[in-house]
């Protein structure tokens, strides 16, 4: 998949140079991020894997980072682009802190800033190859939103990226409630992450869960989920299938 536009002209070398300036495909990628609103704030989960194509090359990548006092950013997609975004946000939060005037950037402001960045890059045919999840709590208000690599942006009570959209969100649509306690929220996220672990080949069994409340943002230590691989459906997957 490339983002080049075929133009018939004699500028072969110049086009090649211009092309080398724009994003064509991702190299080291992270897989799904899943996040939900719960009673006291936001919970977000992601694993710590970085795939190099089909190889699971890196197993200690933190794909969720705190932004300022009130927000947390999770990303799937190209890891180097995520790191670039963190640098932009670093600059943003630094300037915001330097004002030292009692005003601070909340999750809504960060989300909109990221939407502008992602959309403008897309317009230049040089996208940051990420799907971002931005959550946080400020002044008692919970915020959870998502921005894609083409600048599509929205807020919701539960969001997921990549495979999470197909595997986790149906679970969340059935089982999410406004007043989930912390323990119930974690159990719900672990259920989603377990399904992703079984079914997404880029997922690894080493995940972190982050919690955002009015008090602040904490990211848990990495841990693993208990898995069971002896389900009959796993040992004999084609039993009862058409044509078997």
């Amino acid at each position: 998949m490339t983002f080049t536009i075929p133009i018939e002209n004699g500028n072969g070398v110049k086009d090649a140079e211009a092309d080398s300036q724009r994003t064509l495909y991702p190299y080291v990628t992270g897989t799904s991020v899943v996040a939900i609103k719960y009673k006291d704030g936001i919970l977000m989960a992601s694993d710590m894997g970085g795939s190099y194509g089909s190889t699971l090359r890196y197993k200690n990548i933190e794909r969720m980072k705190a932004i300022g006092k009130h927000s947390l950013l999770g990303a799937s997609g190209e890891i180097s682009d995520f790191q670039e975004i963190l640098r932009y946000l670093d600059e943003l939060t630094l300037n915001d802190n330097m004002w030292d005037d009692g005003n601070s950037l909340g999750p809504k402001e960060v989300h909109n800033y990221l939407t502008r960045v992602m959309y403008n890059r897309r317009n230049k045919f040089n996208p940051l190859w990420n799907t971002l999840v931005l959550g946080g709590v400020k002044n008692g208000e919970k915020y959870l939103g998502m921005v894609s690599m083409i600048g599509v942006s929205f807020e919701d009570n539960h969001v997921a990226t990549g495979f999470g959209n197909h595997l986790a969100r149906p679970i969340l649509r059935d089982e999410w409630r406004e007043d989930l306690s912390f323990e119930e929220g974690v159990k719900l996220l672990e259920k989603c992450m377990r399904v992703l672990l079984y079914r997404d080949r880029s997922a690894i069994n080493k995940l972190q869960i982050a919690k955002m409340t009015e008090e602040g943002v904490t990211v848990s230590e990495p841990y693993s989920l208990k898995t069971f691989w002896e389900f009959k459906a796993f040992t004999n997957p084609t039993v009862g299938a058409e044509g078997s």
């Binding site: 005003n103 950037l105 909109n112 800033y113």
Partner: protein, 278 residues
């Protein structure tokens, strides 16, 4: 006059460390018709005197909406004021677009002040000849700032600028301690009373003043003539002879005391504190 030697351009210091061009710009603010601002914890009221060139013409607009949560009243060269208002609107709307959140007024006044400072340090520019009373909201509530041509800005509970503003300032000085907890209606009434002070004897009519208000749950808007007249009617009915004379007497005494002091200061030349220290 003594100070004419060093006042040719803005990038020349006087031997006593003053920039006369900047001080002259601040004189221009004093020539403009009065503008008044006051704030409570949750609201800011801006009011000004409508001055028309002649009976045939309309009056100049001196209060501008910058955003739903920020308004500005100007005194001095109104053309400069319009340009700066346009800049403020632009900054505000750009911030709203990028962050979907209102620009904190404290940050806007710093941008404005930095812009004014540039004009005090370029030989091919001149300072803006307008003083701005900026009222607006941020996370900590309502604020009122005064931006002057020198590039300085100050936060105020209440302030007045322009010609005969000293009378209004005296009135405000007596009452400012109660403004913080004032109700919206009392704040408007105080603003109109302060405007009355600057008229010094002329009967106060709603056609002579413009009033605008903004608050935590109230976007910036102008009060219409009827609303202003209603407020005027509440205090014009009170037996005005004693109250009016007392205030007018005090106002005149203050103005009389202030005027020779200012003239004396100017005459003495470089000995005084420069007006931009105000």
């Amino acid at each position: 006059m003594f100070r004419n030697q060093y006042d040719t351009d803005v990038t020349t210091w006087s031997p006593t460390g003053r920039l006369f061009q900047v001080e002259y710009a601040m004189e221009a603010v004093k020539q403009g018709s009065a503008a008044i601002g006051l704030r409570s914890r949750s609201h800011v009221v801006l009011a000004c005197v409508n001055k028309a060139q002649s009976e045939l013409s309309s009056h100049q607009r001196k209060i501008f909406k910058v955003d739903d949560h920020i308004g500005v009243a100007i005194a001095g060269l109104t053309a400069d004021g319009r340009v700066l208002s346009r800049y403020m609107r632009s900054e505000s709307i750009n911030h709203s677009f990028t962050y979907e959140s209102p620009l904190p007024v404290g940050r806007l006044v710093v941008h404005l002040a930095d812009k004014a400072q540039v004009c005090t340090q370029r030989s091919w520019k001149r300072p803006y000849g307008v003083g701005l009373l900026v009222g607006g909201l941020d996370e900590s509530g309502a604020h009122l700032y005064y931006n002057c041509p020198s590039g300085n800005y100050f936060e105020y509970q209440a302030f007045a600028i322009g010609s005969r503003s000293q009378a209004a300032k005296t009135y405000l000085e007596r009452r400012f301690e109660s403004f913080g907890d004032s109700s919206r209606e009392d704040l408007i009434k105080d603003a109109i009373l302060a405007v009355r002070e600057t008229l010094q004897g002329e009967t106060l009519k709603s056609s002579l003043c413009t009033v605008a208000i903004l608050g935590v749950d109230e976007p910036f808007h102008f009060l219409d003539q009827e609303a202003i007249q209603k407020v005027i009617d509440t205090f014009e009915k009170v037996p005005e002879e004693e109250e009016g004379e007392d205030e007018a007497g005090e106002g005149e005494a203050e103005a009389a005391a202030a005027a020779p002091a200012e003239q004396g200061g100017a005459g003495a030349g470089d000995q005084d504190v420069a007006p931009m220290e105000m």
